[in-house]
């Protein structure tokens, strides 16, 4: 892939006013679902952007569009300055997909039960030409397993069902490294894992971010892990990004009503529900109003500080 005008080398992916509409239903029930409306963000090298929102807010659609599993309707997605819609030949597309990889939520579903862990990791190594011989492959697979803190001797010959959820998620992570990805779209990578394992996986992702300079789009609905892992955060609601910026600034000083609603709902063990009942009922009453207001198209963005912005609606 040739780069004519590499923009600032920091920014790997630029998304500008991305819009995606799905058509559903037939005949009289035909309707359009606006999954994404004018979504813009940037992914910077060696940093993580957390995309936070409720289910159905469009955060996974962003990942699908970035990997070109779907095509966006309008707007631009630039990878190192190049429009991804222009990758039309098989080779260009394969090259692009090599660089941008996904880790899925369900480690039980994303590995093939009929193949060993060695196979899962060696296959991308061969297809992408990272290794030529079996000896090289075995060595590389062992390196990869060590990287994700699994024991190579014990793990390589095992099948997915012989591993725990956390171990499987580690294999998925190793697989993205095997392919040689520089950008990882992690779609709820820890939400199906045990609490006691979640932090370990996040630590591993953090290590890869810091040591290997990998770039992450971290899709989650868990504010706590977003705070732990991502430098920047974008809050999505109904296909629009309503507030974005520096993670701690957004979490500690939320400006948009939906962000405030979201944050007030994050479990805080210091407030019991009995104590929060009054505040809670207010929240419930307001929730629908806030939702309705936040549904409206964004007309203006306001700068809270140089690294923290929020949207205003009609």
């Amino acid at each position: 892939m040739t780069l004519l005008n590499p923009p600032s080398s920091d920014i790997l992916v630029t998304v500008k006013n991305m819009t995606k509409t799905f058509n559903t239903g037939k005949g009289l029930h035909k309707r359009q679902v606006h999954a994404l409306r004018n979504v813009s963000f940037e992914l910077k090298k060696g940093r993580a952007l957390a995309l936070v929102g409720e289910s159905g807010s469009g955060k996974s659609t962003v990942a699908r569009l970035l990997t070109r599993m779907h095509l966006h309707n309008s707007g631009e997605v630039l990878y190192r300055g190049q429009d991804i819609n222009e990758f039309n030949t098989h080779r260009e597309l394969a090259q692009y997909r090599k660089n941008i990889q996904m880790i899925f939520q369900d480690p039980y579903g994303s590995l093939n039960p009929a193949h060993t862990i060695y196979h899962h990791l060696a296959r991308p190594l061969f297809t992408h030409g990272h290794v030529k011989t079996k000896i090289q492959a075995i060595e590389k697979v062992n390196d990869l397993l060590r990287l994700v803190e699994l024991d190579p001797e014990a793990t390589a010959s095992k099948y997915p069902h012989q591993l725990s959820g956390g171990q499987r998620q580690r294999v998925s992570i190793a697989r993205t490294v095997a392919i040689g990805a520089e950008i990882i779209l992690a779609d709820e990578p820890t939400s199906m894992l045990d609490v006691s394992i979640r932090l370990d996986i996040l630590k591993l992702l953090n290590k890869m971010k810091n040591e290997q300079d990998m770039t992450f789009l971290y899709i989650t609905h868990d504010i706590a892990t977003a705070r732990y892992f991502a430098e920047e955060i974008a809050i999505m609601y109904q296909g629009q990004i309503v507030e974005w910026g520096n993670t701690s600034s957004v979490i500690d000083n939320p400006q948009h009503p939906y962000t405030q609603l979201l944050l007030s709902a994050v479990p805080n063990p210091h407030i019991s529900f009995t104590e929060a009942a009054i505040e809670g009922s207010e929240l419930l009453e307001q929730a629908n109003t806030i939702r309705e207001k936040s549904m409206a198209p964004i007309v203006e963005t306001v700068e809270y500080n140089s690294q923290h912005f929020y949207a205003q609606h009609d």
């Binding site: 929102g53 409720e54 289910s55 159905g56 959820g165 939400s191 045990d194 609490v195 006691s196 394992i197 979640r198 932090l199 996040l202 609905h221 868990d222 504010i223 706590a224 892990t225 705070r227 732990y228 979490i251 500690d252 609603l261 979201l262 944050l263 007030s264 709902a265 994050v266 479990p267 805080n268 063990p269 210091h270 407030i271 019991s272 529900f273 009995t274 104590e275 929060a276 009942a277 009054i278 505040e279 809670g280 009922s281 929240l283 419930l284 929730a287």
Partner: protein
Amino acid sequence: MTTSQSLSQATEQPTLVIKNLCVDYLLDESEFRAVDNVSFNINKGEIFGLAGESGCGKSTIAFAISQLLRPPAYISGGEILLNGDNTLTMDKKTIAKTRWSKVSMVFQSAMNSLNPVLTIEEQFRDMFYRHKGYDETESAKRAGQLLELVGINPNRLKDYPHQFSGGMRQRIVIAIGLALNPDLLIMDEPTTALDVVVQREILLQIHALRKEFGFSVLFITHDLSLMTQLCDRIGVMLKGELVEVGKAKDILLRPQHPYTQKLWQSIPAAFEQNIAEQRATNTREVFA
């Protein structure tokens, strides 16, 4: 284990009493003890939480209560008393009646437990017919009320499960669970797949509904923060054993068992500690 168990229940009979419960799984040559000598009570109208990582036996207890364990799992000892009646000695017919009308259950993947080829109205119909003998119109009417209870517009009764979001499907399942006014609602990771706002809404509804209807809840989750907010008392399980039982506040502020302390440390915090406590103080001031 029994030290901090509530002593204030002398007058009223607890909804659920579990005494020295043991559940074993038969393996090829040995047995695996999934639940080891567990005892706890759930009082009337109380929300009791069971915490622990997966595989520690918390779901097995939930299944044991409603007698849904399938071989190779079997209850090898102990007693389960529901309103004073031993469920382990009940005959099949009584158990079938007890399930759902006395004990209902919302499973972790509950939103996938709706039948994809039936409308929401039809999902209610079977249960109402079997337990109450309602006809179609009656069941639809009651189903509509229940949907409203969990915050779903009743005019969606004729829709199919795939037309609802995950959170809505989960609420529908909770509505089905509450349909017969059970004494005990068992919720096994009911909101794990949902986002926090929906989770808060659903749980506040449960919190309010149990005040209104007086049912007890056995709440199973691995989210300790959430559990501390919602539950009155919490039991922490480790490898089949109940290692600590206490009031939610004590589990939060004075965890005794090293495993409970470890569980707390494994959760990244959304807010800085001082901010979290500050908000708590503010709420209390508003409340007072």
